[in-house]
């Protein structure tokens, strides 16, 4: 009797090993393996994740790691070039630029996360409702979204800030509104395909209520485009926040916001103190860059149609 080749024996073939490994790996070990795979396959995405983590740390530990108080003025030390005491120099009020940048990460992250999450989630809701009900409901939602999407963002922003006054919350509102229609469109088009699936019909035929069908059956199936849009808008929201601050809308001095630092000091002392214009711009770009790299890789991983071989 010839023995079966060992390669095919149970416990030895590669499929079996992979299966065992998968079953044995739980919790930390599996996520560690997933992380390692992500780094190996998507180095750019991993680089993005590192930037994001560093930024979150900077925002969380801003009070601890900042060398100075971000709003403390010291006129004897104004417009100092970068040095050991002030790694990124000081502005015309003698405030330490590095400390202001670290504290500015808070506002940027807060606005970025909250407005893209709120905007995308509202977009998800409208998109799913439109796709599920179709007909007049869908038509009405689409018309409203058309209006919102073709409305210049800057008018919404100026109006919100003018009506509600300056402040982080109002900036968030101003950035959330334009995100809604863009996500709603994408979610709706995915939702239209999901609605025609037999499992939706099955759920309907056994009398499941509409909200439950939408929440339990449709939302999970349009979650990938939702997540992709959400990460895509994270970076954009940070960029928008900086743009609004640059235009003088939203946050006001002496808040350490990146866009605001570019607006007043950066432009005014451009020739004398170029570090005032360079540092906040690098911070904004790096943040957006990180979110975009990560979002890109996430999209590649979640959207099989675009997956690169």
């Amino acid at each position: 009797m010839s023995r079966a080749p060992t390669a095919f024996a149970p416990g030895h073939d590669s499929m079996e090993i992979a299966r065992r490994r998968f079953l044995e790996d739980t919790g930390w070990r599996r996520s560690r393996r997933a992380t390692r795979d992500f780094i190996r396959r998507r180095p750019l995405g991993a680089a993005g994740a590192v930037i994001i983590i560093l930024m979150i740390l900077a925002a969380a530990l801003a009070d601890v790691i900042s060398p100075y108080d971000p709003v403390a003025q010291d006129f004897l030390d104004s417009l100092l070039p970068p040095s050991v005491q002030h790694p990124l120099g000081t502005d015309s009020f003698g405030r330490d630029v590095l400390s202001r940048l670290l504290h500015g990460a808070r506002g940027a992250l807060l606005v970025g996360f909250v407005s893209s999450l709120a905007g995308s989630t509202l977009g998800l809701v409208f998109g799913v409702i439109g796709a599920y009900f179709g007909g007049k409901v869908d038509e009405a939602i689409q018309r409203v979204m058309d209006v919102l999407i073709s409305f210049p963002l800057i008018v919404i922003a100026i109006a919100v800030v003018a009506a509600l006054g300056p402040g982080v919350v109002n900036v968030i509102v101003a950035i959330t509104v334009p995100v809604i229609p863009r996500v709603a469109r994408v979610v709706r088009s995915s939702g239209l395909a999901v609605v025609r699936m037999p499992y939706i019909e099955a759920a309907r035929s056994i009398g499941v209520q509409a909200p439950r069908i939408m929440f339990r059956h449709m939302v999970p199936n349009v979650f990938a485009p939702y997540l992709i849009m959400l990460t895509a808008f994270l970076g954009q929201a940070i960029l928008l926040e900086a743009s609004l601050a640059y235009l003088g809308l939203g946050v006001v001095e002496p808040d350490p916001a990146w866009g605001l630092m570019l607006r007043g000091q950066g432009m005014q002392f451009l020739e004398q103190a170029p570090w005032l214009a360079v540092a906040p711009g690098v911070a904004i770009s790096l943040a957006v860059f990180g979110f975009n790299l990560f979002g890109d890789s996430l999209r590649d991983a979640l959207d099989p149609r675009l997956r690169t071989a």
Partner: protein, 316 residues
Amino acid sequence: MQRYVIGRLLLMIPTLLGVAILTFVIMRVVPGDVVTLRYSGSGAVPQEVIERERAQLGLDRPMPAQFMDYMTGIVRLDFGRSLWTDRPVVEEVGARIGITIELAIIAAIIATLLAIPLGVLAAVKQDTWVDYVVRVFSIGGLAFPSFWLGILMILGLVVWFRWAPPLIFVPLWRDPVENLAQLIWPALAVGYRYSAVATRMTRSSVLEVLREDYVRTARAKGVVEWVVVVRHALRNSLLPVITVISLEFAFLFGGLVVTEQVFNVNGLGKLLVDAVQHRDYPLVQALVLIFSFVFVFVNFIVDILYGVLDPRIRYA
């Protein structure tokens, strides 16, 4: 096809109407009006003076009446007079619209010239260092705020070439060279950002087409590689690229606000910011309507173009 076109054109009406209503409401909900803003710096002004001025501008009339004026004005293409400068809105807009259109077109040309070669290159050299460099370059375009890029450009130009942002704009027809010299920097700052999306779209679209059977066939019958890429792959992947470039153009038109501010370009974006800050109702209403119209119209053109460029797409 004809029915589709007419249907789409008719659909633009409710959208633009919605935009008009929204603008009207938003502007009047926002506290302060042009009269209070005009006197905001001049201490105590008798209430009668303010009331008289409001009456002169028609701001004391009931809202529905004001709205009817606005609507009938649109139909007659009469947008009224600016409340701030008292010049006709058409004149105010007419004086600025040229530069914004020109800037948008130059930026679009720069973006296209950057995006298509880079996108194709990245796709052909997928997963090599060339691809990574192009991708980082294009993601950078999305990450650098265009106003910051503008600031850095001004800084570089000022330091190295003693250049200064022009105070007076030279129109194209008077001195094309000078005109271009003034607009090239803001156009580059915007065009780079604009190219980013298009580059990425070109890359992914070419990648998709390169895996098609007819590309393999072309290669199998011995067609030279660059002919395969340009004639077979690029041509078939241009549709989404054209879409992205045109849609970005529509955004760009309303999105030049910040860049115009940095480079001190007196275009529609700057006009809009000033108008909103002055609560110049007729001017804001007209500008928002223009931006929205461009957006809706470009969208419409793109959809029609789809059918023309890709015969497989049929409109019911």
